[in-house]
């Protein structure tokens, strides 16, 4: 436990809190990469995911993409892209890689959010005379929101984790402390940085968990039903299992 005390002491030390390379600066960099990457990825992936979910076309594409993306080693992609484009543009390139990694989970979340909606709900909306646009914005989007936030949550975690590695291509972020700590065998710095990264990841995860919860429209639980169960229409009709 001694090592942990050292790590906390390292975090609390005044020299980590001011000047260049301070913890607030590293944290800021890390958050900046994350927010930009997830934001850009959402702008790209959400409309496509909704389109797939609304029309039902391209479902295999969405499933295949999220499967294939999992196989790609993000660590290697980072190096590969920086080498391909050149070190001078490494900032935008790292962001681009993070965007690429964030797209599949967001796409899957946007599309799956529509997929889990009971078809009868949409049929009822159509029977009531809603236009396609109204069905999309007033029925599908609100009901699909919890799973969309789930996708954003996965994407954010993926990006936070990969941004730890950005230090290898000469950018900052909280990974700096770990990698430098390993190089000079300074364990308090390694451990302190790792603990901060974990705290950041857990904090962001908690924020999204809350968003997911509040995104469920009042009186509706369907959005929280795992897709696995929705595959059995008979059981859904009998009792909506609580997730």
């Amino acid at each position: 436990m001694n090592l942990f005390l050292d790590a906390f002491a390292w975090i609390a030390a005044p020299e980590q809190w001011s000047g260049s390379g301070s913890l607030p600066q590293r944290l800021g960099e890390h958050l900046l990469y994350t927010v930009i990457a997830v934001g850009v990825a959402a702008l790209i992936a959400v409309p496509i995911g909704w389109l797939i979910g609304h029309t039902g076309r391209g479902r295999e594409f969405a499933v295949g993409l999220s499967g294939a993306a999992r196989a790609l080693p993000s660590f290697g992609l980072l190096f590969l892209f920086v080498m391909l484009v050149g070190v001078t543009l490494r900032g935008p390139i790292v962001i681009a890689v993070l965007v690429l990694l964030a797209i599949p989970p967001i796409l899957a979340g946007a599309y799956a959010g529509f997929e889990v909606i009971d078809r009868r709900t949409i049929d009822a909306a159509r029977a009531m005379g809603m236009t396609e646009g109204q069905i999309l914005w007033r029925v599908e989007v609100p009901l699909g929101l919890p799973l969309l936030f789930g996708g954003l949550r996965s994407a954010t975690l993926q990006v936070v984790a990969t941004a730890v590695l950005a230090v290898f291509v000469g950018l900052g972020g909280l990974g700096y402390g770990i990698v430098q700590g390993i190089a000079v065998r300074q364990f308090d710095q390694m451990l302190g940085s790792a603990l901060l990264i974990i705290a950041l990841a857990l904090l962001l995860d908690a924020v999204f968990a809350l968003l997911e919860r509040f995104a469920v429209p009042r009186g509706v639980r369907a959005g929280r039903t795992p897709i696995v169960r929705s595959a059995s229409p008979r059981r859904r009709a009998v009792a909506e299992p609580s997730a």
């Binding site: 090592l3 942990f4 969405a62 499933v63 999220s66 499967g67 999992r70 196989a71 790609l72 080693p73 993000s74 660590f75 290697g76 992609l77 190096f79 590969l80 920086v82 080498m83 391909l84 990694l101 989970p105 899957a108 979340g109 799956a112 997929e115 789930g150 996708g151 996965s154 994407a155 954010t156 975690l157 993926q158 936070v160 984790a161 990969t162 730890v164 590695l165 290898f168 291509v169 770990i178 990698v179 390993i182 364990f187 390694m190 451990l191 790792a194 603990l195 990264i197 974990i198 990841a201 857990l202 995860d205 795992p226 897709i227 696995v228 169960r229 595959a231 059995s232 059981r235 299992p241």
Partner: protein, 242 residues
């Protein structure tokens, strides 16, 4: 290409090491997650507890976990054990949730029929529940296999040789072919394991094979679930890593 040919021996050696180090977490994760997932599925109280815990564990970025484990476990800072344990934790995190979902996907009518035929709950679990949960379990295991292979590359930072070595070494020395080879071979190994698991699943669960499944609509359902499962995982635990 010339770089690949000149370094073929090293690439092969790293690939074999990579494969060897990937297998243990995948197998261990599966074995540990089955009872855990069962407990999560069986009792409402433990369900929330276990699924929240594995969710939190999965949230931890890999490099941070590699660094935090040694002081917790008393292992040396740069040792294979840390990476293997960390990857096992991720595997359990994915698999426990998959197992709970898989067991929930078993038709309760079939379970009741088995009970009515005199199966004890222990025997019913092995003979009825587990095989019927198989397709969803398999989908989870394939996710575990692919993400383990990909995550193992990060281990090179804490001194565990894997295909990740081709990334760091290639980048430092400016050899694009090395990094590219590393990415391609990592993906190939992941796809290979994925294929092997899919074939293993088809062999162990002949009722899920295409063609036969359509004969009986009830039994056909699990095969549909396999397609859907990756998206399901995405809503809950997929995502962390790197």
């Amino acid at each position: 290409m010339t770089w690949v040919l000149a370094n073929l021996e090293q690439i092969l050696e790293l690939s074999l090491t990579h494969l060897r180090l990937s297998l243990l977490p995948i197998v261990l994760g599966f074995v540990i997650a089955i009872p855990l997932g069962w407990v999560a599925h069986r009792y409402r109280l433990t369900r929330g507890l276990i699924l929240t815990l594995v969710g939190l564990l999965y949230t931890i970025p890999s490099l941070a976990l590699f660094v935090v484990l040694p002081p917790l476990l008393g292992t040396p800072f740069l040792s294979e054990a840390n990476v293997l344990i960390a990857l096992t934790i991720y595997a359990v995190a994915i698999m426990a949730r998959s197992t709970a979902d898989a067991l929930a996907s078993v038709d309760p009518d079939i379970q009741q029929a088995a009970t009515a035929m005199g199966y004890s709950s222990w025997r019913r679990f092995w003979v009825v529940d587990l095989p019927l949960a198989g397709p969803v379990l398999l989908a989870g295991l394939r996710v575990v296999a692919v993400s383990t292979v990909s995550l193992l590359t990060v281990g090179v930072i804490v001194g565990v040789d894997s295909l990740g070595y081709l990334f760091t070494n290639g980048y430092q020395r400016g050899i694009l072919a090395s990094v590219l080879t590393g990415v391609v071979v990592t993906v190939l190994i992941a796809l290979l394991l994925d294929r092997v698991l899919a074939l293993l699943g088809a062999w162990l669960m002949p009722w899920t094979r295409a063609g036969r499944a359509s004969r009986r609509s009830r039994v056909a359902q699990p095969s549909q679930l396999v397609d859907r499962a990756p998206a399901t995982v995405g809503t809950g635990v997929q995502g962390s890593g790197a």
